[in-house]
Every structure is written in structure tokens, then in C-alpha cells.
């Protein structure tokens, strides 16, 4: 179908909605917004074109992976340091896509606009596509990577590890609240701001490190994202066109931005900067380009005349970004037996790169990484966690440690609400809690959940052991001849504790020293 016929068909597709007269048809989701019936169309494909386009893309991606790459044993030739981090990344991105699919289901129901609904449907199937693509990559690496342990059970382990578990606190935001809140979290923030640094720039890092499978998958994923960003823009423009919506819109936008930033920036920053073996750009550089300049400087600024402003805590986020990934990675490496991947110690070359890309890095993190390398052999009988007085308490809202941006300049804010103590890592998280405490107040952070577990017992109970039943999946190095076993951990006798128990009922405290 071409030209005028296509436009005619598309116009008729947009006329499918009608005003029900036999039942009252309120949306099943609470909608504190008015949506205008007419909007600009973000997506002018019919189902027919969509299927054709996606099939071509699928054939290219899966064909390349199953033919050339697998036969040439390319996954096994990729940098081992880099490949390890995919064990943690892929279970998280799979869930992000899955949560996105749920978001679009809500939008179809709640946004009474047939034009937008067509776009949401295509995105709904896209998100199933992305879940399948990323699960396929995870399975592909299980089959072909040098070390399959961690890939083969990553989805099972993701809910037991404190960092991957914290991803839920951000990604659930795609569909936990009202549908527009979900669209703001997903389409306006996560997809428009963060998918470029994740699916485009990060794939350059992957390719530089010999990993062709991830770019092949992620770039195919990203080819759908432009439509999702258009969906987000059209949704946002539609909501912002009704003046009564603006106060609530800004509030939901503020919390959506902070919810995504609080997890994604520390997480992606750590992934980006600490697993490159053959080094290129930094996350800070990618962030400034894609999120600082493109998203905040262009995309959001253009909405200001319509009454949508940069998120309330944007300046704090921009200020924190320099250190978030480093602090997250320090904690991640310090708690390496609680993870399910191998974390390679940094080399002198890495040290130089970090100091060049993040001036002042060595002063704050250098000593830790030197100690980490020294403790990487089981014969040391020591865990890097011993470098700290205790594990940091976790934030009730984002579930991340209250140590950001950098341990020496951060405090946990402790509050008691309805008889229960809560810690918050930042103004943004505290603000989100103050708006709707009932959505957070009963959850249990990782350390509350596992308080009192011996570390060795915990590792066994969550199943973070290799097939021999005694060697840890996680290791603090890539050396096959110095693998830590559960016996090594048991000898150390480390116990997981909940630091919040011993903190005062209110006030600000430094939690990692």
C-alpha cells in the first residue's frame, strides 16, 4: 500500500474509538490526567508494515548470531572482563523490557486516543521482542562464552543480589503508578534519556572489547527505540496541552526522573567504566552528550514553553554523576561474593585511564582498588568488605546504598514513619517517599531481608555456586587457578547485618567509613 492509500487507511485506523453507551467504561487505572482526543501521530505504520519491518530485522540479527558469530566462536574470543558484566546486565535489561511491555498495556487501556493506541500496540510487541532478544543473548552466551556460570542462572539470582534487586525499584516505575506516570518513567526518561548511552554507546565499548553479539542484539533493539521516544513525546505533548494537567505532570516527571537516575546512573556508570579491557570513552562523557546535552539541553528544554520543566532535582543529578559509578562499583567489588560474576582487579593502565577521565579518582578510590587486588587470592583470607566498618544502609525508595555520590560527601537521612525506620539516600528519594509513603513503607531492603545470615550460608541458600557445588560463581579476579570456594568464605565468618537497626530514629548519618 502506498501514498494516498496508506494515508487513507491510516486515517480510518485512527477512527476506531467510540463513546460506549451500554456500559460505563472508566479506565481500570486511576488517571489524574485529561487526555485530548486529538493528538499528533507518532507512528504511521500499519500492522502490515510493522510485521514486515520487524521480520527483516529479526532475520538479520538472529541469522548473524547463529551463522557467522557462533561458527567463528566469537563469543569465546571476546574480552573476558567485559563478558563477565553481561551476566549482571542482561537479567536487568530483560526485566526493563518486560516492565515496558506492561506499561504499554496500561497506556492502551487508559489513553482514550486511537492514534496513540496504535503506537502503544506496536511498542507492546516491540517490548516482547526485546525481552526475547536479550534472553536469547543471555542463552547464547550461556552456550558460547568461556564461562557460562552466571549466565545460566542469572535470572534466578537477580532477585537475591542487592544491586540487581535494586533495579526493580526503578523499573517497576514503568507500570506501578498511573499510566502517564509509567510513560514518563519509561518513554520520557528511560528510553529517551538512557537508551542511547546503553544501547548505542555501550555497544561501542562491547565491540571494542571483541563482543559482537551484544552490539548485534542491542542495536537491533535500539532501532525500535526511536518510535518509543516518539510515543513518549506524543504522550507528553498530549498531556501537557491541557493546562490543568501541568502541576501533576511536573510532579510525576520529577519523581520519574529521580527514580530512574538513582539506579541507572550508578549501575550503568559502573558497567561502562569498570569492565572495559580495551579502553575507549567514559560514561561521564556519554552521559554529558546523550543525557546532559541531548535530553536535558534539547528535548526537555523545548518543552519549557509548554509548561514542562527540567526535573526538580536535575542539578543534583548532574553534580553527582562524576562519582556515582565509581562508588557503586567500589561497593559492588567490595561485596563480590554476593554477586554472580567475576570482577577483574584494575591494572596500572586502568588507574591511569580513570585519573585521566575522572580527575581526582585515585584520591577517593585508588586505595580501595589496590587493596582489592591484594585480597583477590583466597590465601589472603580477607574480603574487601573488611575495609569498611559496615555495609551501608539501603535507601527505602531506590534500594541502593546510601553512599552516593561519594562516601565522604554523603549521608543517609533516617526517618521514622508509621513506627518503622527508613533510610533515604537523597533529596529525590526522600521527596518521592513524602508524596506517597504507602507505596514504599512496607518493603524490605536487601539487608533487612537477609539480616543475620552468615555469608557462606547465604551463598549456598541463594544458589550462587558453580556446578561442582563448592566453587563460587563470583570471583574477585579472572584467574581460573585461584578460585574461591564456599569453604574459603566460611572460614572468614562474615555475617550480613542490617545497619539500619543500629542507626538513630531520625537525623542524618554518615554510613560508610
Amino acid at each position: 500500500m502506498k501514498g494516498e492509500d496508506f494515508i487513507k487507511a491510516h486515517d480510518r485506523v485512527k477512527d476506531f474509538d467510540w463513546q460506549p453507551s451500554y456500559v460505563e467504561a472508566p479506565s481500570r487505572y486511576r488517571m489524574p490526567y485529561k487526555i485530548p482526543a486529538k493528538t499528533s501521530d507518532p507512528f504511521r505504520h500499519l500492522v502490515r508494515d510493522y510485521c514486515s519491518m520487524e521480520r527483516d530485522k529479526d532475520d538479520r540479527q538472529y541469522g548473524a548470531m547463529s551463522d557467522v558469530m557462533a561458527r567463528a566462536k566469537m563469543p569465546a574470543k571476546a574480552s573476558e572482563r567485559w563478558t563477565e558484566v553481561l551476566k549482571m546486565v542482561l537479567p536487568v535489561t530483560c526485566y526493563a523490557e518486560y516492565a515496558a511491555m506492561k506499561c504499554t498495556g496500561q497506556l492502551v487501556d487508559a489513553v482514550s486516543n486511537a492514534e496513540l493506541r496504535q503506537g502503544y500496540l506496536a511498542q507492546m510487541i516491540d517490548e516482547v521482542r526485546h525481552v526475547n532478544q536479550e534472553a536469547h543473548l543471555m542463552r547464547y552466551l550461556t552456550k558460547h562464552a568461556r564461562d557460562p556460570e552466571g549466565f545460566s542462572q542469572g535470572v534466578k539470582l537477580r532477585n537475591s543480589m542487592f544491586i540487581t534487586r535494586a533495579s526493580r525499584a526503578a523499573l517497576d516505575g514503568f507500570f506501578a503508578g498511573n499510566p502517564i506516570e509509567g510513560a514518563l518513567n519509561l518513554q520520557v526518561v528511560a528510553e529517551t534519556a538512557y537508551t542511547n548511552p546503553i544501547f548505542v554507546t555501550l555497544t561501542e565499548v562491547a565491540a571494542t572489547n571483541g563482543d559482537q553479539a551484544t552490539p548485534t542484539t542491542f542495536l537491533s533493539v535500539q532501532s525500535d527505540e526511536a518510535r518509543h521516544m516518539a510515543n513518549g513525546y506524543a504522550t507528553l505533548a498530549a498531556v501537557a496541552s491541557v493546562e490543568d494537567n501541568l502541576p501533576r505532570l511536573q510532579q510525576d516527571f520529577d519523581t520519574a526522573f529521580w527514580r530512574q537516575h538513582a539506579f541507572l546512573d550508578p549501575f550503568v556508570g559502573a558497567v561502562y567504566d569498570y569492565f572495559q579491557e580495551h579502553r575507549g570513552g567514559s560514561y561521564l562523557e556519554a552521559w554529558k552528550e546523550w543525557i546532559g546535552d541531548d535530553w536535558a539541553g534539547s528535548y526537555i528544554r523545548k518543552l519549557e514553553p509548554f509548561g514542562v520543566n527540567l526535573p526538580q532535582h536535575w542539578d543534583q543529578a548532574a553534580e553527582r554523576i562524576q562519582w556515582l559509578g565509581h562508588t557503586a562499583m567500589m561497593l559492588f567489588a567490595a561485596s563480590w561474593p554476593m554477586q554472580f560474576l567475576r570482577v577483574d582487579p584494575l591494572t596500572a593502565k586502568d588507574f591511569d585511564w580513570f585519573e585521566k577521565k575522572y580527575p581526582g579518582w585515585y584520591q577517593h578510590y585508588g586505595a580501595f582498588w589496590e587493596a582489592y587486588a591484594e585480597m583477590s587470592d583466597p590465601s589472603s583470607g580477607t574480603l574487601p568488605l573488611s575495609l569498611f566498618e559496615s555495609m551501608p544502609t539501603l535507601c527505602r525508595v531506590c534500594q541502593m546504598p546510601c553512599v552516593f555520590p561519594r562516601p565522604d560527601i554523603s549521608t543517609a537521612r533516617i526517618k521514622t514513619h508509621a513506627g518503622r525506620k527508613h533510610a533515604f539516600c537523597s533529596d529525590g528519594c526522600e521527596y518521592a517517599f513524602s508524596l506517597e509513603p504507602h507505596r514504599y513503607a512496607n518493603n524490605h531492603a536487601w539487608d533487612e531481608h537477609f539480616d543475620g545470615f552468615g555469608l557462606a550460608d547465604w551463598i549456598e541458600s541463594v544458589g550462587a555456586l558453580r556446578a561442582d557445588g563448592r566453587t563460587l560463581i563470583a570471583q574477585p579476579h579472572l584467574d581460573w587457578n585461584r578460585m574461591w570456594t564456599i569453604d574459603d568464605i566460611r572460614k572468614i565468618g562474615f555475617e550480613i547485618t542490617d545497619p539500619l537497626k543500629n542507626l538513630p530514629a531520625s537525623g542524618e548519618v554518615t554510613v560508610l567509613q
Partner: protein, 357 residues
């Protein structure tokens, strides 16, 4: 200190170890689908002393993100459900692309060989525009309803299957539009607005519209999946589409309309099989709530059957407008009723249309 893990006698798994396959080996469908949705009751329940459900962010009304109350049915493990067709996105989109390509070519061929120009204007105006285009609104309503249902479904396997069904229905609705746009080049009888007018005003379509609006407000994803596929599909969609459009199309020299419906029937068979698998899971012997579920499903089937049957009965005037009749409304309705009774009977349910459990 251990030696290298691969030096041990234990073979390291080269596939996912966290999914229990339904059959002997893990299928690609299972590997790419199962446990993508958090399962706070079992798979994702972390060991520990805290027994409460673990949600980090509740819905704004304080309820959990996936709520057992989203369906009246109870099952110990919704994640055990498997799509009998084993569809994942790639296989599903490939299938739909093949169907759409076939329809596009068939339409193009019919335009070029003069078939579209030879269509009886009464067939075009009264059946394709007046009836089939009106029916496209019903399909759209099912798409609308299935979209939030996939969000609420209590497992990934169920959610994905419902998501694909949503797509099926919008595809069907759009195919009707695309076909009429092409016919407009060859026949002056096209009145695209007639379908919506009939849908909104013609008494023959009001029971169908009432049902469509009820479907859009159905809050129970399992009820929707069972009602739409075990009742509406074999009864109402059979009469409105298979009998009235597909069966009549060839006598009225319209091969394309027949082919559109054939693709829809292929999708329908997949969705009926999925609903049957859901009904069977709900009353499995191992389910302590099987008896209550059976009663609930019987109640749903009865309720949906009454409404779908009323809608199918009301379509009689549409049959009278077929220029070269292939069947009567009474015959079509009788066949559809018998098929519906047989389908629910195979699952052990009675039907208000006759037949005992």
C-alpha cells in the same frame, strides 16, 4: 582452594538451569519466555526470615504490582502454563508477516486480474462495508481489552500469549480497512462510514456492541481469555466472520475476503488452544482450588454464552443482504452453537445452548 571449575568431574551447564521444562528438553520458547515476570510467591522468593511479599514499589492504590485478585481463579503456579503454539516474538511476527504478505499479494492480484472490479456492488456495500467493517470495531474492542489483560496476567507465559492475541485482533481490524481502501479504486459502492454507522445505530449490531463494551470493561484477565476464546470465537465470531464473510465470499466471487478470514481462523485456533490449556490448568487435580475454579468457569461460560448468542442471533438481517447466499442465518447459527457446545463439553462444561457436562 579449588582448581579450575572445568577441571572437576561436574559438567558445567550450557543452558539455562532455572526453568523447569514442560517436556524433556527446554524449548526455545520456554528459554526466552519463562521467569521474565517476577514471581514473588515462588521462583523469586528469596530465602530468609521475612515471609511477607516483597514489593519495592506498590501501585498508587497500595496494591501489589501483580495481584492474585486480578482473576477469580486460583492456581498454585501460573508460571506452569505453556502456550501450546510455543510462540515467542520472532515466530509470531514471522507468522503474521507471512499472512500479511499473502493478503497483500492476493489483493494486488485481484486488482490486476479484474476481480475487484467485478465484485457485486451489493456485496461490497452491504456485506464488506455494512457488515464486515462494522465487525472491525468488535475486533478493535478485543484488542483494547487484551492489552491491559496482558499487563495484569499472573505469569509471563500467559501475558505474552494474551499480548499476541491483542495483536491478532488489531491486525484483523486493520485488514478490513486495507482491503476496502483497495476496492475503492475499482468499485464505486464503497461507503467506509457505513460500518461505523451500523455499529453505532443498526439494531443488528447493538447486542454485539454491548458485548464489545462489556469486554472492554472486563477486569478479570482469565475470564477474558476464556470467554473470548471458548465462547465468543466459536459462537459469535464464527457466525459474524466465518459463516457470513468467509463462507459467502467465494459464491460472491471474493477470494480476498475469504483469505482474510482464513488467516483470522488460523489465529483463532491458536487462541482457542491457549484458552483450553488455561482451563485445564485451572482445574488440574493438583490444584486445591480446582472445584471452585470449575464453578467459576462454568458461571463465566454461561454468562458469556448468553451474551454472545444474543449478538449472533441479532445478526440475522446481515445474512439477508448477501447477494448470493451460501447459507442461512439459522444454519450458520446452528453450526456455531453446536461447535460451542462441543468445545466447552470437551472441557467438561455444560452450555446454556444445550449439552451436559
Amino acid at each position: 582452594m579449588s582448581a579450575r571449575a572445568s577441571d572437576t568431574q561436574v559438567k558445567t551447564a550450557r543452558d539455562f538451569t532455572y526453568i523447569k521444562p514442560q517436556r524433556r528438553r527446554l524449548t526455545e520458547y520456554e528459554a526466552l519466555t519463562v521467569h521474565m515476570q517476577p514471581d514473588h510467591l515462588a521462583f523469586d522468593r528469596a530465602p530468609g526470615r521475612i515471609e511477607e511479599t516483597e514489593w519495592y514499589l506498590l501501585r498508587d492504590d497500595g496494591t501489589p504490582l501483580w495481584d492474585p485478585a486480578s482473576t477469580a481463579l486460583r492456581a498454585p503456579d501460573w508460571f506452569a502454563w505453556r502456550d501450546p503454539a510455543q510462540q515467542w516474538q520472532r515466530t509470531y511476527v514471522r507468522h503474521q508477516e507471512q499472512q500479511e504478505t499473502a493478503l497483500e499479494r492476493a489483493t494486488e492480484d485481484a486488482a490486476l486480474d479484474g476481480s475487484l472490479a467485478e465484485l457485486d456492488p451489493r456485496w461490497v456495500r452491504d456485506v464488506l462495508c455494512g457488515h464486515y467493517r462494522a465487525w472491525s470495531f468488535f475486533e478493535y474492542a478485543v484488542f483494547r481489552a487484551m492489552s491491559p489483560a496482558q499487563r495484569e496476567a499472573l505469569s509471563d507465559t500467559l501475558g505474552n500469549a494474551i499480548c499476541f492475541q491483542a495483536f491478532d485482533h488489531l491486525r484483523h481490524a486493520q485488514d478490513v480497512i486495507c482491503y476496502l481502501v483497495e476496492i475503492e479504486h475499482h468499485c464505486d459502492a464503497v461507503d467506509d462510514g457505513l460500518g461505523k454507522r451500523n455499529w453505532l445505530e443498526d439494531p443488528a449490531y447493538q447486542p454485539a456492541r454491548a458485548l464489545a463494551e462489556a469486554i472492554m470493561t472486563c477486569r478479570d484477565w482469565a475470564e477474558l481469555m476464556l470467554g473470548a476464546n471458548l465462547v465468543v470465537a466459536p459462537l459469535l465470531q464464527q457466525v459474524a466472520v466465518s459463516e457470513l464473510v468467509r463462507r459467502s465470499a467465494l459464491p460472491n466471487r471474493d477470494a480476498v475476503a475469504a483469505q482474510i478470514v482464513l488467516t483470522v481462523e488460523r489465529d483463532r485456533r491458536r487462541n482457542v488452544a491457549a484458552a483450553r490449556a488455561l482451563a485445564e490448568l485451572a482445574v488440574a487435580e493438583s490444584n486445591p482450588d480446582a472445584a471452585a475454579n470449575r464453578n467459576t468457569i462454568q458461571h463465566w461460560l454461561d454468562d458469556w454464552t448468553r451474551r454472545a448468542d444474543a449478538a449472533a442471533v441479532a445478526l440475522a438481517p446481515a445474512f439477508d443482504k448477501v447477494p448470493v447466499p451460501a447459507t442461512t442465518h439459522a444454519e450458520a447459527l446452528a453450526r456455531a452453537r453446536a461447535a460451542t457446545v462441543e468445545l466447552v463439553g470437551e472441557l467438561g462444561y455444560s452450555s446454556p445452548l444445550g449439552g451436559a457436562a
